[in-house]
Amino acid sequence: MTRMSDGMRVEVDRDLCCGAGQCALIVPEVFDQDEDDGLVVLLEDAPGREHEEAVREAGAVCPTGAITVSG
């Protein structure tokens, strides 16, 4: 699959995540949490424009800085 090179990219660091679920509350289309340990699961590493603002918000408010947004 080819990706648009100008879109936003998201990374999560499960070692930092504390499972507080802020991200999944804000954008459930992009972030979920593991049923087993509550830690973040990234559903979409190149989310569409319609989620851009919410993904940036999730990145900004994550209590452990586990979400990196680029692009």
Partner: protein
């Protein structure tokens, strides 16, 4: 000069902490003064002991991330006493409990309990929360067009939600309301009362755990009680977990509902804005959490080594208190911090703490606050304060901050 906090030093002349507030929802003036002039400040606690107070968000964030700042405050090791009756509790006795709650076994606890609080699970609880909130409004309506929003709305909702989640009978709420208040006592109860209440609470919870082990239900305690292998927890660990979640899930959210509604009604244009645009509910609850000036004493930590925070050094054996509320109004992080902006986004406030130990129940609390607000907007759009904010009294003598009463009309 690096501040010190040897508790045996003379504390005369130090500012008394917590500071008094101009009214039930406004911040003490000392926060802004200290934040600008003395971000690592010496203060005197209600116990008479000395501590350091942090008011800038950078310092607070860094402290909360640094594991050298321990969550165990043992006065025998030189930590300050937080309350007037702080001589240990029945819950801090055994080593496996301490290890689970604050020590090396804590990540396992976060993982086991965190499963219950994922955003998806919490969203599944929404219809139930809504039903509870609507039932509260129905009861308020039956009694006329005035009510006390704290006792008739703010408290019943989270209590029923957490009881359903844990699988404890909601009828028991009056009993554990008293027990939990003693656990959060600062000056209100003496040591004998606190220990007696804790013993009763422990016995009550152990009874439930035995029950859940024998006859598991579809609830969190049953799920935790049936864990094996790496998920196994002792009776005592389960008891402390159950009590912790019950107290935390019940008190803080309940108080916050009252404070949030007060702030939103204190200026009618805020309420009108929400009535006109429900999509503001989520950001308005976040802004209420950020603006909460009455969050209680703050998070205490104890450090034995010499450490450095962005604003300066902290001496070994210091007890350090982070004022989350003061940090949430730090102009370095929030534009126009004393203005309530219902659409503020992003809003990286630290009302739930920060870092790996930030509140495990925050998705639940946020959802409850949102539902509580949505239901009021829908069912009681004409809601208004029945007394001026200046007449509202706060609860005193306990470490959680809230209103004693919130008279409203509609």
């Amino acid at each position: 000069m690096a501040p010190r906090t040897d508790q045996h030093e003379d504390t005369d002349g130090l500012p008394d902490f917590p500071f008094s507030r101009p009214d039930a929802v406004a911040p003490p003036s000392e926060w802004a003064e200290l934040r600008e002039g003395c971000p690592i400040a010496d203060v005197r606690l209600v116990s008479g002991d000395r501590a350091l107070l942090l008011t800038r968000i950078d310092d607070v964030r860094q402290l909360l991330k640094d594991p050298r700042f321990g969550r165990q405050l043992d006065p025998a090791k030189g930590a300050a006493r937080l309350s007037t009756a702080d001589e240990g509790t029945v819950f801090t006795g055994s080593a496996d409990v301490e290890d689970l709650m604050t020590g090396g076994d804590h990540p396992r606890w976060r993982r086991l309990v965190g499963r219950a609080f994922t955003a998806r699970r919490v969203n599944g609880l929404r219809p139930g929360m809504r039903a509870v909130a609507e039932a509260c409004v129905d009861r308020m309506r039956e009694n006329g067009n005035t009510a006390d929003l704290v006792s008739e709305y703010g408290f019943p909702i989270p209590v029923q939600v957490i009881c359903a989640l844990l699988g404890t009978p909601p009828e028991d709420v009056d009993r554990f309301s008293y027990w939990s208040e003693t656990m959060l006592s600062e000056t209100k109860y003496d040591q004998d009362e606190i220990l007696a209440a804790q013993a009763e609470f422990a016995e009550y919870m152990l009874g439930h755990i035995a029950d859940k082990r024998a006859r598991p239900g579809d609830d969190l305690l049953s799920e935790l009680a049936s864990g094996t292998g790496d998920a196994w927890m002792s009776d005592e660990q389960l008891m402390v977990t159950g009590i912790g979640l019950l107290v935390a899930g019940h008190e803080t959210t309940a108080n916050m509902i009252g404070k949030m509604v007060t702030m939103l009604l204190a200026d009618r244009s805020r309420w009108e804005a929400l009535l006109a645009d429900r999509s503001l509910v989520r950001t308005a609850t976040e802004e209420s959490l950020r603006m909460d000036a009455n969050m209680g004493v703050g998070l205490p930590r104890f450090v034995t080594e010499e450490t450095t925070l962005p604003s300066g050094e902290v001496c070994p054996h210091s007890t350090v208190i982070s004022s989350l509320s003061a940090a949430n109004r730090d102009p370095r992080a929030f534009e126009d911090p004393d203005r309530m902006d219902l659409g503020r986004s992003p809003n990286p406030h630290i009302a739930f703490g920060a870092g790996a130990h930030s509140c495990i129940g925050q998705a639940l609390a946020r959802t409850e606050l949102q539902v509580a607000l949505e239901v009021l907007l829908e069912q009681l759009p004409t809601l208004d304060l029945a007394v001026p904010v200046s007449e509202l009294q706060t609860r005193s003598g306990v470490i959680v901050g809230g209103l004693a009463e919130l008279p409203v009309r509609w």
